[in-house]
């Protein structure tokens, strides 16, 4: 909301101007960044290890190789070691976690040990999706007469929230199988146990195939992603590093989630 208002203000103010400036920023010691994903889609476990770089450095963060990455099912202490693809992620294909059970990742890298645990949430099916066309690039209702707005839409995903517990969700949109950058995060703090309506904004689809994935996640991952969102968007009043569920001072997260999808074919609407 704040950002929307500020951008409108900037739009309205004809005198606003932007320019690149030099800022002398401190450097920081490189830290390990862990992205660890596991869901029930059959894709299996996927872990990518990288390191942070200084602000002034160019990107191209080196993939960290040679780590020992182990997935543990805590119920029976079954341990599976992930294999690294050449200069890429560590994987454990076809692994399917059991709903309601606890899992842990243990990573040993350059003599340091990192660990994260999570419980596998229950799958929540998407009941239906409603399409609302004609949105401006900022996600605000746009002028239908403007052809540019014809290719933006707001989708509303409807799903039933399980009662009795607090639930957290992420909706990921894919346009022609490519994930969109925006993070859509919802919880049931307001409408606990009720039918949820979660808006998802898609931009410049060209008569494309849209897939919505509903990720049922836990509180720690929800918080991590919320912080990640404000960090990336630089919209926080208190910019900070998202708090990782990994111990040992690593950045990044272990996201264990139940994944359900809905498919849509979007057609460019005619102006009403």
């Amino acid at each position: 909301m704040k950002r929307i208002l500020i951008s409108i203000l900037l739009l309205g103010s004809l005198t606003a101007c932007e320019k690149e400036i030099d800022i002398d920023l401190n450097s920081a010691d490189p830290k390990l960044v862990i992205e660890a994903l596991l869901d029930d889609s059959g894709r299996g476990a996927w872990v990518k290890l990288t390191k942070t770089v200084n602000f002034s450095d160019t990107f191209g963060p080196p993939i960290q190789s040679g780590a020992i990455v182990v997935l543990i099912r805590l119920a029976d202490n079954r341990r599976d070691t992930l294999q690294q693809l050449p200069d890429s992620a560590y994987i454990l294909p076809n692994y399917v976690p059991v709903y309601g059970e606890q899992y842990a990742f243990e990573i040993t890298h350059q003599g340091d040990f990192y660990r994260a645990t999570a419980r596998m949430p229950q799958p929540i099916p998407i009941d239906s999706v409603v399409i609302d066309p004609f949105f401006g690039p900022g996600g605000l209702p746009g002028n239908p007469a403007d052809p540019a707005n014809r290719r933006n839409a707001l989708l509303y995903a409807f799903y039933q929230d399980p009662p009795g517990v607090r639930n957290y969700f992420q909706i990921q949109a894919f346009q022609n199988d490519t994930a969109t950058a925006n993070l859509f995060l919802y919880n049931d703090e307001v409408n606990t146990g009720g039918f949820q309506v979660s808006p998802v904004f898609v931009q410049t689809y060209i008569n494309g195939r849209i897939r919505l994935e509903l990720h049922h996640i836990d509180a720690a991952v929800f918080r991590y992603l919320t912080n990640l969102n404000t960090n990336i968007g630089q919209s926080s009043a208190s910019p900070a590093n998202p708090i990782s569920n990994f111990s040992g001072g690593a950045l990044g997260y272990f996201k264990l989630f139940a994944n359900t999808s809905a498919f849509l074919q979007l057609v460019e609407p005619t102006t009403p």
Binding site: K2, I8, C17, T50, P141, T226, A240
Partner: protein, 765 residues
């Protein structure tokens, strides 16, 4: 022998009493002869040895005692002709004084009297008065006269951001200022995201700023009290004034209902920025404007009873393609009854209503929702002022406020607002004592007892050590309550006739908090009351100052230093979600400290007037869980803050003005590194507020030319140029990947206003 001494002692006391019994009370009102407006703080002096003096209260009333005899009464007020009258005291007397505005300020009108060295004489320190006439001559953004923005040119007061009417006083947060309009708190004193203040200077009579050192009759905020008084309306004749500006127009009508007895004032303002916006096709269906109204009625029932009704209503409206809309604003109302119980007892009772709310509407083909959010106060205030003697005055009073806070939720479905609404009862009782033991000393001391009760009937949360919600409860009675004793003392010692030394200690507590660290004041800022998880803020301030006037008060100089300790200062925890429905877990509490040195040098008389102010200061916080528990700079911490203001009158009808400001940049958090998650750039932070925005500086120029006045009609043209040398002061700094080399990260600053010229035409008849 001992008995003998005791006898004389008793005799001495009796004699004193006998002498006192022979004095008579001289009292009355001091008013503007042309408009009938009560003059606040006018100086009353009586010749003789010792010379006696007092000042009028906020209703223009004064009282003091004199033994029988012949005297000369002198009444003076800055910008008015002095009033002189022989006074023969044989019995208690009413002396009502009407002062005429000084016509020819340019010629050598000797305006002497105590009002001019008020800053020197009064025991209170950290007090600034804004003269509305001066405010009207200063250059300002978009040419809209604005008391709150002009106030930011004073030492110890810092602007919240580019063009903002929000401000920080002595290192305090923006929400630590109590802004009162005729005693009614104004929660969001800004329009259009802070670029205009809610105060239409046409309707404002007087503004007093207390920089955290207010006497005991004020309380509830740590950093300052801004006491704004609306005009009462001319009770002598009808008066229409107004202005046409580039961005807004104003109209002000005032006049008597019954001449000399009752009057009204109506003042309105509306902006039309959206008219320009609509010239662009893309914004054709958009609205962006604000309007506000001030109204006041005042009626003298009898010589001793007076009733006032004043109100303010302002609204900002923004809508986008008739689909998304937000509107927000304040409404205040004050019903006040004052009664002169006796010459020495002045009673003031007020019933005050205050509301700030915002509404968001969103309507598309698939979804409709509407949200109402805000803060509402009902407030009863009663104060008895007792003019005990020439050297002593007492104030006794109480104040009870019933708050209802509706949190802002951007969520559509089935929200039960009632259960989320918080209610609180804030009460205070106080006594304040002004005492002049001798010619050199004056002392104001006071005690305020404050109490806050967070009332049940809505959800409260139990948090664990990690500030995670572990339980929700809805108590029937009181959820949490706190009580405090707030002592205050201010001492003035006159070193010589033209210099004084002052010191003060004040404790303040605060139960209403704003959770926002944003760069601009936004309508969706969240107000939060003290609860079981949100502890009340406590502030203690000590200050010392030296005041000196030169050349018969032509020049004044002051230097003040202060140190402030603050407890339970709230800040967002790292990466807080400021949109969270339950905000308690997002906040952390700790200590604050602020200290500084404020210099002010001002020239008050002659063609050339103006001032130079410089503040050297620091404001820091230490909160467990933020910045590894180490002290860090508060956002508003700025080491240097300079303001130079110059006004020059070429002729009676033409004057120019200039204001230059320089400030160290705000403390901000910038990244030290970066990394990738899901192919997006994530910033690595190492410390809170460890960097500085570039220094801010700006020159504004203004000129006012009065067109040839007709018999009943006068008008003027006011020109202003904001940011005359076009400095690109950063409003925002963002980090992004370079467009030319996506692997390189660059910092990009957004500057808002360069060279904003404005012209407005003001009229009066």
């Amino acid at each position: 022998m001992l008995r003998f001494r005791a006898f004389f002692l008793i005799l001495g006391i009796c004699t004193t009493q006998a002498v006192q019994a022979q004095t008579f009370t001289i009292s009355g009102y001091v008013k503007d002869a042309e408009t009938g407006e009560a003059l606040i703080g006018a100086a009353i002096a009586v010749s003789g040895t010792p010379p006696r003096g007092t000042a009028t209260n906020v209703y223009g009333y004064y009282a003091f005692n004199l033994p029988p005899g012949e005297y000369e009464l002198l009444v003076s007020y800055l910008g008015y002709e002095q009033f002189k009258q022989k006074l023969r005291v044989t019995a208690a007397q009413k002396v009502n004084v009407n002062l005429s505005p000084a016509r020819q300020q340019l010629k050598e009108v000797v305006v002497t009297g105590e009002a001019e060295d008020q800053r020197l004489r009064q025991s209170q320190m950290g007090v600034e008065k804004m003269n509305i006439a001066t405010v009207n001559k200063l250059p300002i953004l978009f040419g809209e006269r604005d008391v709150l923005k002009s106030m930011q040119l004073l030492p110890g007061v810092k602007a919240g951001g580019e063009g903002q009417s929000g401000f920080s006083v002595r290192g305090g947060n923006l929400d630590q200022n109590l802004i009162l309009l005729d005693d009614a708190p104004v929660y969001n004193a800004s329009h259009l995201l802070g670029f205009f203040s809610t105060f239409n200077s046409d309707a404002i009579k007087d503004l007093t700023l207390h920089k955290g050192t207010a006497p005991a009759n004020f309380g509830g905020r740590l950093a300052s009290v801004v006491d704004v008084r609306m005009k009462e309306g001319n009770n002598q004749k009808y008066n229409v004034s107004g202005g046409l500006g580039l961005i807004a127009s104003r109209l002000n009508v005032e006049g008597p209902i019954q001449e000399g007895r009752s009057s009204f004032l109506l003042s309105g303002r509306r902006t039309y920025a959206d008219v320009f916006l609509r010239l662009n096709d893309e914004f054709a269906n958009n609205q962006l404007y604000f309007y506000d109204f001030n109204a006041k009625l005042n009626y003298r029932l009898t010589e001793k009873d007076h009733i006032y009704l004043s109100g303010y209503f302002g609204r900002d409206v923004f809508s986008f393609n008739n689909q998304f809309g937000i509107n927000w604003g304040n409404a205040t109302g004050t019903l006040r009854y004052t009664r002169l119980i006796s010459d020495k007892l002045f009673l003031n009772s007020s019933l005050i209503y205050s509301n700030y709310d915002y509404n968001i509407g969103f309507s598309t083909s698939a979804l409709n929702f509407n949200i109402k959010s805000g803060i509402e106060d009902w407030n009863i205030k009663q104060e008895l002022q007792y003019f005990a003697s020439n050297s002593q005055q007492w104030k006794f009073g109480y104040n009870v406020i019933y708050h209802t806070v509706t949190p802002g939720l951007v969520n559509a479905q089935n929200t039960d607002i009632r259960s989320l609404q918080k209610r609180g009862l804030e009460s205070a009782a106080y006594v304040s004592h002004d005492w002049k033991p001798n010619e050199r000393f004056s002392i104001t001391s006071g005690l305020r007892i404050s109490h806050f009760a967070a009332l049940g009937g809505s959800d409260y949360y139990t948090l664990d050590a990690n500030r995670t919600v572990i339980d929700t409860f809805n108590p029937a009675g009181i959820a949490a309550q706190y009580a405090f004793l707030e002592p205050r003392i201010a001492v003035n010692y006159n070193l010589t006739a033209t210099s004084s030394l002052k010191t003060a200690y004040t404790r303040n507590t605060q139960h209403i908090h704003l959770v926002s660290n944003a760069i601009a004041s936004t309508p969706t800022d969240r107000w939060l009351m003290t609860t079981n998880n949100v502890a009340p803020e406590i502030g203690d301030q000590v200050s010392i100052g030296y005041f000196r006037n030169f050349k018969e008060n032509t020049y004044e100089f002051s230097v003040e230093t202060y140190y402030k300790w603050m407890q339970n200062q709230l800040d967002y925890k790292d990466g807080a979600n400021d949109q969270a429905t339950v905000i308690d877990p997002e906040l952390l509490f700790g200590d604050g400290r602020a200290y500084g040195l404020e210099w002010l040098f001002r020239k008050n008389k002659g063609r050339f007037t103006g001032w130079l102010s410089y503040t050297l200061s620091r404001s820091e916080r230490r909160i467990e869980g933020i910045n590894q528990g180490q002290w860090y700079a508060a956002r508003q911490d700025r080491t240097h803050d300079i303001a130079v203001v110059a006004l020059y009158e070429f002729t009676e009808r033409f004057n120019v003005s200039a204001a230059w400001v320089y400030q160290t940049g705000n403390a901000v958090t910038f990244p030290a590194g970066k990394y990738n998650i899901a192919d997006q750039v994530v910033w690595l932070y190492t410390e809170r507020n460890g960097y500085r925005m570039p220094a801010y500086h700006r020159l504004d120029l203004g000129a006012t030319y009065q067109l040839k006045p007709k018999r009943k009609y006068s008008s003027e043209l006011a020109f202003s140029l904001y940011n005359a040398y076009g400095r690109q002061n950063p409003f925002l700094i963002n980090f992004q990947q370079s467009a030319t080399n996506p692997n390189r990260t660059v910092a990009v600053q957004t500057a808002l206003f360069r060279w904003v010229p404005a012209v407005s035409w003001n009229f009066k008849f």
